[in-house]
């Protein structure tokens, strides 16, 4: 049922593969959340999926409001949720993380993007199909601060403990130009597998081990502004069996806004190598 090689491993799967989701949709045992923009969702979507555009969520992602939104989408505390998008899994990750943050346990990412779903010629609903009708439910709000890093937390963790790895998930050139001192660069693209939003477990573990991230590490991920790319990295770490991971959700935008120190790669004109 899982896109990950879970087997007897205690680490919970963070992705659901497409065939498993199709079965669950057939059994009506899941709520699929489409994280794309409303116009894209209306045009074409996975059957039964509800729409939660990330921008809507981000307009106020306080726990009480998120719980209300979840309930309005037919998600109760125990509902199995699978989130997908068409942006490498980054938007879906931010939504999944937010649900986890309010205490929702059973949420995973679809292992594929919507474009991959379509390229496999799987069933979709288009603009002519009725939108799914939803029975609202109650969702509680029990914030789980253990998966969140604030800038205060980040600074203290880095200062206090040697096992903390700060991971920057923006593209390499942005990292070279400016990053939080001590961070390592792991661009979000690195996390994907050939046909899936995340590499397979062993592949991911080897990649991370090469970078010095392993069982004993505490990982804090961050990206440019709202924790999407780093949200994906949060799930990448979990998929590799590294539960001690937090998302610095306000990311580099807040860090710069607070005029915290930054580091950069000096004396090289790397931007001029880009063909963009």
């Amino acid at each position: 049922m899982s896109g990950d090689v879970a087997g007897a491993d205690p680490a919970p799967a963070v992705t659901t593969d497409v065939d498993a989701l199709r079965g669950e949709i057939r059994d009506r045992s899941v709520v699929a959340i489409d994280a794309r923009r409303p116009e894209d969702y209306k045009r074409s979507r996975i059957p039964t999926a509800v729409n939660l555009p990330l921008a809507d969520l981000l307009s106020d992602d306080g726990p009480d409001r998120v719980a209300k939104i979840a309930g309005s989408l037919g998600i109760g505390d125990e509902t199995r949720v699978v989130v997908y998008d068409d942006s490498f899994g980054a938007l879906a990750s931010r939504i999944a993380w937010t649900l986890e943050y309010i205490g929702h346990a059973d949420v995973t990412l679809l292992g594929a993007t919507y474009a991959q779903w379509r390229s496999m010629e799987l069933e979709t609903d288009d603009a002519t199909a009725p939108l799914p009708s939803v029975t609202p439910r109650e969702h509680s709000s029990n914030p789980n601060p253990g998966i969140l890093a604030t800038h205060e937390y980040l600074e203290k963790a880095v200062a206090d403990r040697d096992n903390v790895v700060l991971v920057d998930n923006r593209e390499r050139l942005n990292f070279l130009e400016q990053h939080i001192p001590g961070a390592i660069s792991l661009p979000y693209r690195t996390l994907a597998g050939p046909d899936s939003i995340l590499r397979g477990r062993e592949d991911m573990r080897r990649l991370l081990a090469n970078r010095g991230i392993g069982e004993g590490s505490e990982v804090i991920t961050y990206c440019g502004s709202v924790g999407t790319l780093s949200g994906l990295a949060y799930y990448a770490m979990k998929s590799a069996g590294l539960p001690n991971t937090r998302l610095y959700v306000r990311s580099f935008k807040e860090w710069k806004g607070l005029q915290k120190p930054t580091a950069s790669q000096a004396d090289a004109n790397y931007w001029d190598l880009s063909a963009e």
Binding site: D19, R26, T48, T79, E123, P132, T135, D272, L273, E276
Partner: protein, 627 residues
């Protein structure tokens, strides 16, 4: 997880039954399989382990550097944490799925762009050292390697992108280039040479650099008596040039003999490598390419040593030590066209300009070779994917050929497919005109990533290209056979020595203020009349474009009928010109008004190098060319 006990908030059940799921790749046309697998998977693991040992301090820095270079990972400007991975494309033959793999690797581990070099390598820059092994792993899945792309070994074996299609060639040298690459890759014979060693196969005199590498080979044939039949037969062979090369000091190669039969190709190569290995200078790293050995020893002595060594090699090599060129031609297969795609593309603005400056008619009827213009060799991940797509759709041989001037060629494009290919390239941002003209300058990586660079030669090449295209100078046929080549330091990665107008970077100062400054050379060429460019004058970085335009103006004012800029400059540097501008000195005098540095107050921009908004300083790290 159980699927039975989950509550769902949905009232509507899905209306579709899940059907059979096709594989993701199913939409693609049938893929050609590469003939060669250059990769060795175990090298990825070995590299990863060695990086760990190095980081733990259990591997000394010098040994690690040699190991890293042997595997094709070069150092990066001012940091030990990043590497440049140089992917070899032997003979320049790249399959579409290989381009896609490089695209993916560039996004995952590099900067989302790749760089095509002048030596038919594709380079990924700013790769975290610990990720290099992951790139090896990805390359091994598509049969590519970076092994021996750096270090003191036989580097990527180059072959003219026109080999096999060139109207002037006697035969296709590609199978020989691939066989030579295969023979020497990982061969114990060349794992620890005094210095790097380069082969270059051309198609003809015009389209290669046979005289500017360690071993340059021009295919040729001769008629010989047929031993068995008593009649005559055509024998294949090469015109071999040894001891040429570009660098801090450049030399033109020497012709070994009138005709080197194909059977002697391997023996000649082995003999040359053995002599270099035995006698090359292993102490003075700045002067130990084979060309210095030839220069110091004198050509005649070197030549007789090689010929003697070759007879020993011929007599002592096992009969199984042979080159094994695969002469099976690539199948020329024109994909079926579902609909006529050519309609509007031909009417596009720019199509005829592109046609005139980017395509060459092949010796095969109705087929063309199309050169894709890049900016100083840079190509984005998305463009690599588009290119792969267009190779599949429009190159009837189904592969891309990397060129000698930071570009890519699609060959066997049918006349009817030129317009749709143009439209496709346009959509991918790859349809710039001027690929085969002076408007496609070469720029080495310069201060964008290289430890030795003094100036941003890379950006300067792009700036010149943009200006040339803006002014439409690619349309002037009298400029087409001229070249502009720029290096960011006196070493010659940008090949400034063989440019019609060449530049290499340095710094200059006014009082305490420094600015980027280039030495300009004129009249270099790499064809049958190969010669090195002659020093003209120093040109501040921000005056390079006006200076080039001024030289073009001088040419237009003083030319003779039938002249091109190249032929005119050739006369000027050879003191064979009799117009008002008849020597390098005259050119320099004419340029003088453009060269005087302004004060910093008058023109602060003058003191900034391209791509930089802080004061210019010359900063360099340790080079690794000689490591």
């Amino acid at each position: 997880m159980s699927q039975t006990s989950r509550a769902s908030g949905h009232d509507s059940a899905p209306s579709h039954k899940p059907g059979k799921r096709p594989r993701l790749e199913s939409a693609r046309p049938e893929e050609r399989k590469p003939r060669e697998n250059w990769a060795r998977r175990s090298e990825a693991d070995h590299f990863a382990d060695t990086v760990k040992l190095f980081r733990q301090g259990r591997y000394d820095a010098d040994s690690f550097r040699r190991f890293r270079l042997q595997h094709g990972a070069y150092g990066t400007r001012m940091t030990g944490d990043y590497a440049m991975v140089r992917i070899k494309i032997p003979a320049g033959v790249a399959y579409p799925h290989q381009l896609e793999a490089i695209s993916r690797l560039s996004e995952q581990f590099s900067i989302g762009s790749a760089h095509i070099s002048t030596r038919e390598n594709v380079q990924l820059h700013w790769v975290v050292l610990e990720d290099v092994s992951e790139i090896f792993r990805g390359l091994s899945r598509v049969g590519l390697t970076s092994r021996e792309a750096c270090g003191n070994t036989v580097r990527n074996v180059m072959c003219s992108p026109l080999a096999g299609v060139c109207p002037s060639e006697p035969f296709d040298s590609t199978p020989y280039a691939i066989a030579v690459a295969r023979f020497f890759l990982r061969n114990p014979l060349c794992q620890n040479l005094p210095r790097k060693f380069k082969f270059n196969f051309t198609c003809c005199e015009e389209h290669g650099m046979a005289r500017m590498v360690d071993v340059g080979l021009i295919p040729q044939t001769r008629t010989v008596p047929d031993a068995e039949g008593g009649g005559q037969r055509e024998q294949r062979g090469f015109n071999v040039f040894l001891g040429g090369g570009l660098g801090n000091r450049s030399f033109v190669g020497h012709q070994l003999e009138e005709f080197t039969p194909e059977d002697d190709l391997l023996y000649t190569s082995i003999a040359t490598i053995r002599i270099f290995d035995r006698l090359g200078d292993r102490k003075n790293l700045a002067r130990n390419r084979m060309r210095y050995l030839v220069d110091e020893m004198g050509w005649e002595k070197f030549q007789s040593l090689i010929l003697m060594e070759r007879s020993i090699v011929r007599a002592t090599q096992s009969v199984v030590t042979r080159l094994k060129p695969d002469f099976t031609p690539l199948e020329i297969r024109r994909p079926l066209r579902i609909s006529d795609e050519s309609g509007s593309a031909a009417a596009q603005d720019g199509y005829s300009r592109w046609l005139a400056t980017n395509t060459i008619r092949q010796k095969q009827d109705s087929y063309h070779t199309v050169f894709v213009t890049l900016e100083a060799g840079d190509i984005t991940a998305g463009q690599l994917n588009s290119l792969a797509d267009m190779v599949r759709r429009y190159s009837c041989e189904g592969v891309a050929r990397i060129g000698f001037v930071q570009n890519v060629a699609l060959r066997f494009v049918h006349s009817d497919d030129l317009a749709p290919l143009y439209a496709g390239l346009l959509g991918a941002g790859l349809a710039k005109s001027g690929a085969l003209t002076m408007a496609a300058p070469i720029g080495c990586s310069g201060t964008t990533s290289c430890n030795l660079a003094l100036t941003n030669s890379h950006r300067l090449a792009k700036e010149i290209q943009r200006k040339f295209l803006e002014l439409g100078l690619d349309k002037d046929p009298d400029l087409a056979d001229s070249t502009i080549k720029i290096s960011g330091c006196p070493n010659s990665c940008g090949q400034h020595g063989i440019a019609t107008i060449g530049f290499f970077g340095g710094g200059a100062r006014v009082g305490k203020d420094m600015y980027a400054n280039y030495q300009m050379l004129l009249g270099g060429r790499s064809d049958g009349l190969t010669m090195l460019g002659q020093t003209c004058t120093r040109v501040p970085a921000k005056r390079v474009i006006p200076v080039i335009l001024k030289i073009i103006e001088m040419f237009r004012a003083n030319r003779r009928p039938g002249d091109t800029l190249k032929s005119w400059i050739h006369r000027v540097v050879s003191d064979a010109e009799d117009s008002g501008v008849s020597s390098i000195k005259d050119v320099k005098a004419e340029l003088q008004p453009l060269l005087a540095p302004p004060t910093k107050d008058d023109d602060p921009d003058f003191y900034l190098d391209y791509g930089s908004d802080t004061s210019y300083h010359t900063k360099t790290g340790k080079g690794e060319c000689a490591a």
